[in-house]
């Protein structure tokens, strides 16, 4: 009767579950403290103090915020489509967590080392539009709907340039596996030869995660709260956490594609002593800081300007770089070996 518990598959299953918990729990803690970091960074930019009352240096602020949201009432608008209204934040949240299944945090520290890792990340980030569009439609409110439409158009547009940036990196690596991409950067990080593509990727990532200066879907001066206008309590919190988790995911992706993942900057013994996940976390934090820095610095784009940049500037530019990079690799015979 208890045979199933001694089954090898079952043990493997338990082991994978433990790995997932080991990744997701720290991730959620980091997400919580990212909200704190954001408030602190923006406060510093604006010469304020930021949260400093709850706990030492205000460190317990995210906990207090979480408790507050938890104790609020969940409101369903009477005209809303209840099931989809409830599903939308779950989709948004779980998708941004699901992406972490393939991200290698250190050498071999990855839940699923699949051959098409980059495509998986790309697919997940393109799916995250559904949480927003579902929320906008199910709320049955014009502000939410307008926010969702803006967001859908924006994310679909910027995926194109992200896709071309990824192609450029893949041409240099010759594999879709994320760990392989990191190994390929042992001699030089791709941010140096492909610097313009990194800039394109970073700006597109801002648009893809609906962050300032492209946070038009939640543009409060014209759309109240955008797609989550009608949301309250934990459903709102799930959107919020999902957005921040997506931000961390995008930063992690940038780290892997351009900053050599868990590799130290120089191949020196002392630097190699430091465990890989610290390098990874450090680089990702730097990217995240840039996200916050941009938010504190730039005003919001107008919608037509956003579309113009996406389609008329980034798309032709990144297409040109794909051609240039592959041409360069062919001329100097640097193409990664093929079967």
């Amino acid at each position: 009767m208890f045979d199933i518990f001694y089954n090898e598959n079952f043990l493997a299953f338990i082991f994978i579950m433990l790995k997932i918990i080991g990744l997701v729990v720290p991730l959620l803690v980091i997400v919580a403290f990212l909200t704190y970091a954001e408030r602190k960074v923006i406060a510093s930019v604006q010469l304020r103090k930021g949260p400093n009352v709850v706990g030492p240096f205000g460190l317990l602020q995210p906990l207090a915020d979480g408790l507050k949201l938890f104790s609020k009432e969940t409101i369903f608008p009477t005209v809303s489509n209840k099931i989809i209204f409830l599903l939308a934040p779950m989709v948004a949240f779980s998708l941004s967590i699901a992406a972490w299944a393939v991200i290698p945090i250190a050498d071999g520290w990855v839940i699923s080392n699949i051959n098409v890792g980059v495509l998986y990340l790309f697919a997940i980030s393109s799916l995250s539009v559904y949480g927003i569009i579902m929320a906008g439609w199910a709320s049955n409110s014009k502000y939410a709907f307008m926010g969702a439409l803006r967001s859908a158009a924006q994310m679909v547009s910027y995926e194109v340039s992200i896709g071309l940036v990824i192609v450029t990196v893949l041409v240099c690596v010759g594999s879709l596996n994320l760990s392989e991409i990191v190994y390929a950067q042992k001699s030089v990080w791709y941010v140096f030869p492909l610097f313009p593509m990194f800039i394109v990727f970073f700006i597109s990532a801002l648009a893809e995660t609906n962050r300032a200066p492209f946070d038009l879907p939640e543009d409060e001066s014209s759309l109240v709260g955008g797609y989550f206008t009608e949301y309250s309590s934990m459903l709102f919190a799930m959107f919020f956490l999902g957005e921040y988790a997506a931000m961390i995911m995008m930063s992690g992706m940038a780290t892997i594609l351009f900053f050599g993942g868990w590799l130290p900057p120089f191949d020196i013994a002392i630097l190699n002593q430091i465990p890989g996940f610290i390098w990874f976390a450090g680089k990702t934090s730097l990217m995240l800081f840039t996200f916050l820095w941009v938010r504190a610095t730039f005003p919001r784009f107008r919608y037509d300007q956003l579309m113009r940049i996406g389609w008329k500037v980034f798309l032709p530019f990144s297409l040109l770089w794909v051609v240039l990079t592959s041409g360069f690799l062919i001329i100097f015979d640097l193409l990664p070996s093929s079967v």
């Binding site: 299953f13 495509l119 998986y120 697919a123 393109s126 799916l127 439609w137 859908a152 679909v156």
Partner: protein
């Protein structure tokens, strides 16, 4: 472990495919369509066709279905007229369905008795040795390059057609010319003039 997931994905896929054509609300239909795509992705992964699975996600779920949703949400669809056309269009739908089913059955019979030789069969041999992204790339960009280019051209023509059909040039639209804006400087946009008191510019 494998059969469990196979039956899970197939049952949900079939169920949601049925829901696509039976549910009343067209937006729900699209969501069920997305669920069907999702579960087919799962089936592809189980078959070991990971590249196709991810492409299905990126292209169909991530882009095509979003546009479907976009259009259906924006259009004010009259449900009763949709229902009215159902009886009229049913024979056509049944015919198409029967043809597709027949094709699938024939190809299965062909596979079982080795009658039909599937072009690109050599892929299956290669799959065991190399990852299928590479295998697909090797075939598509060498043996089938002309067909591949043809497919690309057809899509391009379709795209141009759609743009030509929907694009209309409107008069009196103010457009921002970013280049002109950034090239402006002090000398051609500000004039300092000394105005005498009581005279005006």
């Amino acid at each position: 472990m494998l059969p469990v997931f196979f039956y899970l994905f197939s049952i949900i896929a079939i169920f949601s495919a049925i829901m696509v054509i039976t549910t009343k609300n067209p937006v729900h239909s699209v969501f069920f369509l997305i669920l069907t795509f999702f579960n087919s992705t799962g089936l592809f992964v189980l078959m070991g066709a990971e590249f196709l699975a991810m492409l299905l996600l990126v292209v169909y779920v991530g882009a095509v279905a979003v546009l479907f949703l976009f259009v259906i949400m924006m259009l004010n669809i009259d449900f009763s007229s949709l229902r009215a056309g159902m009886i009229k269009n049913a024979p056509l739908g049944l015919l198409i369905g029967a043809v597709l089913l027949g094709e699938i059955i024939f190809s299965f019979i062909g596979m079982k008795y080795g009658i039909s030789e599937i072009p690109g069969n050599e892929l299956f041999v290669k799959l065991s040795e190399i990852e299928n992204t590479r295998a697909l790339g090797n075939v598509i960009y060498t043996d089938y390059i002309y067909l591949f280019q043809c497919a690309g051209l057809i899509l391009l023509v379709a795209m141009i057609g759609a743009i030509v059909l929907t694009h209309r040039r409107r008069e009196n639209v103010k457009k921002q010319d970013a280049v002109k804006q950034t090239l402006r400087d002090k000398s051609d946009s500000i004039e300092v003039s000394k105005v005498e008191i009581g005279k005006g510019v």
